[in-house]
């Protein structure tokens, strides 16, 4: 186990002794031939799952298998927004649990992931949209979650640079969740990895799972690019690759794979102090602590595993940016990149057992699974350790598409371009 506890004193000591005492944040172990459980996917969810399995359930003879380097997937590609402003009773407690875990994360894992509760404002542009947001805000309040209704002036005070004068779709107001905000995404992967490693979890990078071994309806292990690894419990947390990995066990998931692009501008002095989402499009924006404006909008709209977006969506996203904030015109886009989204058919995730005993599934995060990272890890660990769903994730069943217990927040049905 590696890494000392970070405190201001260790840091000062390291600083003036040339940082020689610092050790790797996580070991680079050779995979063992067998574990009590393996987690496939070293993204935020997989790493958090491993951490909570070790911490909350005492399972430390476990491994996270990652085909590339940890954090190479969506956890390191997203627009870093966290919030729990959901509508449905199956969703609110889960995302609120996640937000509470975010709030204590730094102390929990002794790593500063820069959880920044700068508030999330969802704008609305018509009376009908207002009523929708009010319905949602009230649902949150009834669940004990913070929500504030802003009128136009309230929005203007917090974001005077929005287009209030010439907008095609005038801003009528917004729903604010003050406790929402952003988190430094890479740090989440690294922080959980380090904390899991310290509890004995093997984090095995460059180890692609290529097959899932099943005998008599039970999982017995996984085949990997580094050999067979046996485990009586296997948890899949492969986000955009969920369908491909589940197919190794013969499962066909209610998931489509789509491209989502994120954007960052050149670094600027502070301009936007909160997170804003556009109600007349699909656009969201915040400013990172480094100064870059981080934004995104819709998925490209065709099935793909290519982690790159195309020009029509890129232009569209920038059009939404300009429509919302006309001052962005002279600021420059520095970079855009994309990730593959595991779009479920109702827009909500799946954390559940599968028809194969010992094989557990965590997938279907659509474009919003980053905020779920701590709770997803927490609940998936619970499921793997006890073979029974955690109460706040009880609605995330795989069979809900058959029973009709859907969690369709947006009411858009199985049209993933609308989620």
């Amino acid at each position: 186990m590696s890494g000392d506890c970070f405190s201001i004193f260790t840091l000062l000591r390291q600083a003036w002794t040339g940082q020689g005492g610092l050790k790797p944040m996580w070991r680079e172990p050779e995979p063992k031939s067998a574990y009590d459980a393996v987690i496939v996917g070293g993204g935020g969810h997989g790493l958090a799952t491993a951490y909570y399995l070790a911490k909350e359930h005492g399972m430390s003879n476990i491994a996270v298998l990652e085909k590339g380097w940890i954090g190479s997937g969506n956890v390191g590609r997203n627009t870093t927004i966290v919030r729990s402003n959901y509508l449905l009773p199956g969703n609110i407690p889960f995302y609120e649990h996640s937000l509470k875990l975010w709030e204590g994360l730094e102390q929990e894992i002794n790593y500063n992931a820069m959880v920044s509760q700068r508030g999330v404002i969802n704008l609305f542009h018509s009376d009908a949209q207002r009523d929708d947001h009010v319905r949602r805000g009230n649902a949150m309040r009834l669940h004990g979650v913070d929500a504030v209704l802003l009128d136009r002036e309230g929005v203007r005070q917090r974001a005077p640079f929005l287009d209030f004068d010439h907008a095609r779709f005038p801003i009528h107001g917004g729903l604010l969740q003050p406790r929402g905000g952003t988190v430094r995404h890479d740090a989440v992967a690294w922080g959980y990895a380090r904390a899991a490693d310290r509890r004995g979890v093997d984090i095995v990078q460059n180890c692609a799972v290529t097959g899932i071994r099943v005998e008599a309806g039970r999982v017995i292990g996984v085949e990997t690019s580094r050999g067979l690894i046996r485990a009586p419990r296997v948890g899949l947390a492969c986000a955009g690759n969920s369908s491909r990995v589940a197919a190794m066990a013969g499962l066909r998931l209610p998931i489509e794979s789509h491209v989502l692009t994120a954007f960052v501008s050149e670094a600027l002095k502070p301009l936007i102090n909160t997170v804003i989402t556009f109600g007349a499009g699909h656009f969201y924006i915040s400013q990172s602590d480094k100064g870059g404006l981080v934004f995104g909008a819709s998925i490209d709209g065709y099935n793909s595993y290519a982690q790159r977006g195309n020009l029509p969506t890129i232009e569209d996203s920038c059009e939404e940016a300009m429509a919302l904030i006309p001052a962005l015109g002279r600021l420059r886009l520095l970079r855009h990149w994309s990730g593959i989204m595991d779009m479920s058919m109702d827009g909500s995730p799946i954390i559940d057992r599968t028809p194969i005993a010992g094989l557990y599934l965590n997938a279907g995060w659509c474009i919003g699974g980053f905020k779920a990272t701590p709770a997803s890890g927490w609940c998936f660990a619970h499921l793997i350790a006890r073979d029974t769903p955690h109460p706040v994730a009880a609605a995330y069943r795989l069979d809900r598409f058959a029973t009709g217990h859907l969690l369709d927040e947006a009411g858009t049905g199985a049209d993933v371009t609308m989620h």
């Binding site: 840091l11 890479d186 002095k269 020009l311 232009e315 001052a327 002279r330 886009l333 947006a410 049905g413």
Partner: protein, 997 residues
């Protein structure tokens, strides 16, 4: 005024000395010439300190002469046109240009934040992650705001961008990216072969490196050769040359994005000109001839102003006629060193030494150095640059002891070259990984996007004659590949050169901080720290140290950084690999990517044919999707909007109202199988619908939830007209297309959207028939028996205007909808108003429409919210059991049949004067208002003028069995808690007598 241009050469260069320009930097006035960049003009005036670095606020000067510049970033222009982080090295000088340094306080030469530099040992890579955690609450309150203020570079103006942008699309056979020697040769041969060619060059002049180096082609100065090629290209009608145009991305299917800076070289865009233009170029083939970017050498304090890339030094000397210093040292690990010495000497700059870490030197090099009066220090290295805001000397290692050479050489310019990185970024945009080429010590293209060929320096070829030949070959090959006879490939000759290199990734024994990524202050020590902490994967290195994440995307830094990591981990550079380059190649104004889609033009605005008429009637308009619809028609006597709405509602109930309903989706379906098609689309049956009749229908999505509702009329045996809600017009049409094309291509029918082709009005109220009688043909029988409720026909109105007449009612009154071809829409509204004047006709808007439908319990958007089933909304009996239809099976899933699902109810406040609010939740009386007690929500509300109190619709668990019960509508967001009675949603005329009147 200091504009003395002391460092300007007396002659030469590509500047226009007859056009002097005046500009300001940090409030001081200077002079330059047309053809200068801001950086060149600053150097000409002896300005060396231009910016401050990101983290440590170290003083920085000008490193390069191109878009790779990490240091010389300024705020350009002022007011709403302020552009932060502008690279002085590519900003063209214009008269009156204003620039300011950034990221410093209070001034550039004295920046208190430079104190960060003293704390550098603490602020090493990743320091944020390990600190600022104690105490927990301090992060957002204290640390984060401080970090945010210190970080960032320039300031945004915060004001709307006053300039315009536009987009253009172009198609070509061959896109040539870069107009250096290879690109020009490619365009020339492709053009001569008759291909449609686009040649895109980011610079304002063509020629690439030929502008900066004194070279010879075919026996004449290279710039003359360039001029000849440019002239010839100018005569080819199918060749388009775009200067000031950066190709920023390679996308799928041969699509490239490029940004043309149409007016950035001017103070303001001329009238009717955009500032920039985004080109979407669809090219059958492309030639990437984007050249190479020089690498800095990594030694102590290598960021001092005055330390410059050697190629940039030559550019300033030769192209801009500027001496970037008075006394120079050249430090290079490759053969470019000698060329730089020669150019410096030719420009009259004193050259103290050529420091070359390689043990041997070519005879030619020795000759050049000697002729320059400089020393050749072989096997030596610069270990540190001295000076603060300006280079004063360099410290050397490897100078033979006893040689009598002082290891400290005073100088104000250090020209360095660590070799060249081919500009391969665009080859990676499809995911291709560049591969390491040890002979040039650089990455060359690996897998490239389909149709792309890479030539010249971008492909790792640094010999001019070869580059020309390669370019020409590529031009010819493109022609052949496209089935065109290629023009002959000319032979080129150029002055001889060599390009040998010995990699030197970091100078051993360097003293001070050795920077790799200048802008982000990433030094060798940070890479070493990342290595120790396990961030050895290149992407981890990048993210942990921020190497390559600055505005230059690591163009000068990445290869040095990963090479150092390779050394530290004892891996090869190929094993270590490189990070993936992402678009855009050059930072790109968001305005250019948005084009004109901003403000009111963000999305198209749809107006109905009756829009002007409504405006004349005093309508207040409101957005309804892309449409503008009349919200209400206020009149002088109305006390407020509510009074207007009440007046309009009562007019419909008591006399007659006129409402523009053009925006509803209209889909014209024809063919023998339409009825069958409708049967499969709607939950209810259509085979029995007679010609001349209308039926209300409900359709589900595949997943069994309601998609939309509306009426469909049968106008003829094989001719139907469907209406949809305004909001779902597009999605329903798409759904129909999908069903027909994919599910049932065998059904014989055609359909098309005719929403825009027909203007449609609702005429509603007890007097509707009287008004209508005045415009239909005299023989047309409007009598109840002849044209009853749910009748439809094609007819003529207003003396011969073709029309469609429907007797349908959303308001519950006797009502008709009349549709006429769009061009008659305006006239029809006016005619109906005249016709109805005596009957008290009143135009009514969306608000009144909404109250009228609420009074009748008709569902609309808030109830058709995609989460409700037909059962929830009370349509269960319409669900046919005798046929199959979309959504039928899925609608039978157990959860959709659960008895306690929220279903449609009417709501009426218990207190007669109480108001209701949409979005409130329904909670049992006496229960604590929390999630467990939540039983549904209020969907739509309004003040009913007809009934004299507020009414609402809602979705309530098991609601149909609860009429008469009193619950609460709780709205914590707005602090309301109102008792409401659950009632039938049919508030008004429950027997439906009025619509049959």
């Amino acid at each position: 005024m200091t504009g003395d241009q002391t460092y300007r050469r007396a002659d030469g260069g590509a500047i226009d000395r007859s056009r002097p320009l005046s500009f300001q930097f940090d409030g001081r006035r200077y002079r330059g010439y047309q053809g200068d960049t801001l950086a060149a003009a600053l150097l000409a005036n002896g300005v060396r300190l231009v910016g401050r670095s990101f983290k440590y606020h170290r003083p920085r000067g000008i490193l390069s002469a191109g878009p790779e510049e990490p240091n010389a970033l300024v705020e350009l222009r002022g007011g709403a046109r302020r552009e932060p982080n502008s690279r002085a090295t590519v900003a063209e000088l214009f008269d009156g240009l204003e620039a300011r340094s950034q990221n410093r306080f209070p001034s550039l030469s004295f920046d208190v934040l430079a104190l960060n530099g003293l704390l550098a040992p603490l602020f090493a890579a990743g320091f944020y992650y390990k600190t600022f955690m104690w105490p927990a609450a301090f992060w957002e309150k204290l640390y984060e705001p401080l970090i945010r203020r210190a970080a960032g570079l320039g300031r945004a103006s915060g004001l709307p961008d006053p300039d315009r942008y536009e987009k253009a699309t172009a198609f070509c056979d061959l896109l040539v990216i870069g107009a250096g020697p290879a690109g020009l040769a490619a365009a020339l041969v492709a053009g001569r072969s008759g291909l449609r060619v686009i040649l895109a060059e980011q610079d304002f002049a063509l020629g690439g490196r030929l502008l900066s180096d004194r070279r010879w082609i075919d026996g004449r100065p290279a710039i003359d050769w360039v001029a000849g090629v440019v002239d010839e290209l100018g005569t080819m009608t199918d060749v388009r040359v775009l200067t000031r145009t950066s190709v920023i991305g390679a996308y799928d299917s041969g699509t490239y994005a490029a940004v043309e800076r149409v007016a950035d070289h001017l103070a303001e865009p001329p009238p009717f000109q955009p500032r920039q233009r985004l080109w979407r170029i669809v090219a059958r083939r492309s030639v990437l001839a984007a050249g190479a970017i020089e690498r800095p050498l990594v030694f102590g304090d290598n960021d001092r102003p005055g330390v410059m890339l050697a190629g940039a030094v030559r550019g300033y000397l030769n192209r801009f006629a500027v001496r970037p210093g008075a006394r120079a040292v050249v430090f290079a690990n490759n053969d470019e060193g000698a060329r730089t010495v020669a150019d410096l000497a030719a420009a009259g700059v004193a050259v103290a030494a050529l420091v070359d870490p390689r043990p041997e030197a070519a005879a030619e090099t020795r000759r050049i150095v000697e002729a320059a009066g400089a020393r050749l220090l072989r096997g030596a290295q610069v270990v540190r640059a001295r000076g603060g805001t300006r280079l004063t000397a360099v410290e050397l290692a490897g100078v033979a002891p006893g040689s009598g050479i002082d290891p400290v050489i005073p100088c104000d310019l250090l020209a360095m070259s660590g070799g060249w990185n081919p500009t391969v970024q665009l080859t990676s945009h499809h995911g291709g990984k560049p591969v390491w080429d040890a002979t040039i010590a650089g990455f060359v293209p690996g897998t490239v996007p389909p149709g792309m060929v890479v030539v010249g320096a971008a492909a790792g070829h640094f010999i001019l004659a070869d580059d020309l030949a390669q370019g020409a070959q590529a031009g010819a090959a493109a022609a052949q590949a496209l089935g065109v006879t290629a023009a002959p490939v000319p032979g080129f000759s150029a002055d001889p050169e060599t390009a040998a290199i010995l990699p030197l990734w970091r100078v051993p024994g360097a003293r001070g901080k050795s920077f790799i990524d200048f802008q982000n202050d990433v030094a060798v020590s940070d890479v070493a720290l990342a290595e120790r902490e396990g961030f050895r994967a290149v992407e981890h290195l990048k993210r942990y140290t921020t190497l390559g994440m600055a505005t230059d995307q690591g163009k000068t830094a990445n290869v040095n950084g990963l090479a150092v990591m390779a050394e530290l981990t004892a891996r090869s550079i190929s094993e270590t690999g490189t990070t993936t380059a992402r678009p855009p190649f050059t930072p790109t104004a968001l305005g250019a990517l948005a084009g004109h889609h901003r403000g009111p033009d963000f999305r198209p605005t749809r107006l109905t044919p009756g829009h002007d008429w409504a405006a004349e009637q005093g309508a207040r308009f409101i957005e309804a999707g892309a449409w503008m619809r009349a919200q209400a028609f206020p009149q002088a006597g109305d006390a407020d909007l509510q009074a207007t709405i009440d007046r309009e509602v009562l007019a419909v109930r008591q006399a007659v109202g006129l409402c523009d309903v053009t925006t509803l989706g209209k889909i014209d379906l024809q063919g023998p199988d339409v009825a069958e098609f409708l049967d499969r689309i709607y939950i209810n049956g259509w085979k029995t619908l007679a010609v001349g009749r209308v039926r209300y229908g409900v359709m589900l999505r595949e997943d069994g939830f309601v998609q939309d509702d509306g009426t469909t009329a049968r106008l003829g045996p094989d001719h139907y007209l469907m209406t949809t809600t305004t909001a779902n017009a597009g999605s329903v049409f798409r759904h129909l297309e999908f069903c027909h094309q994919v599910l049932w291509p065998d059904l014989d029918l055609r359909f098309i959207s005719v929403t825009e082709q027909w203007a449609q009005y609702a005429l509603a109220g007890p007097r509707a028939r009287d008004v209508l009688a005045g415009i239909v043909d005299p023989g047309f029988d409007l009598d109840n028996a002849a044209f009853p409720h749910l009748a439809a026909t094609e007819t003529r109105v207003c003396d011969g205007v073709p029309a469609r007449l429907f007797r349908i009612s959303f308001s519950g009154e006797l009502a008709y909808e009349i549709a006429v071809p769009a061009r008659y829409g305006d006239a029809l509204a006016r005619r109906l108003m005249r016709q109805g004047a005596d009957h008290g006709i009143t135009p009514y808007g969306l608000e009144a429409l909404n109250i009228l439908r609420l009074e009748k319990g008709h569902v609309a958007g808030a109830e058709l919210n995609g989460q409700t089933t037909a059962r929830d909304l009370g349509f269960e009996r319409m669900m046919s059991t005798r046929k199959d239809y979309i959504g039928r099976v899925m609608a039978r899933r157990p959860a959709l049949l659960a008895p306690d699902r929220p279903c449609l109810v009417g709501l009426r406040p218990v207190a007669a004067t109480a108001t209701l609010s949409g979005g409130a939740h329904l909670i049992a009386r006496g229960a604590v208002a929390n999630a467990a007690a939540d039983q549904g929500h209020v969907t739509s509300v309004g003040a009913s003028a007809t009934l004299g109190h507020w009414i609402g619709l809602g979705l309530l668990a098991n609601g149909r069995a609860r009429w008469g019960e009193i619950v609460r509508a709780v709205d914590p967001l707005r602090g309301q808690d109102t008792e409401v009675e659950i009632v039938s949603p049919l508030f008004y005329d429950p027997e439906g007598k009025r619509l049959h009147a």
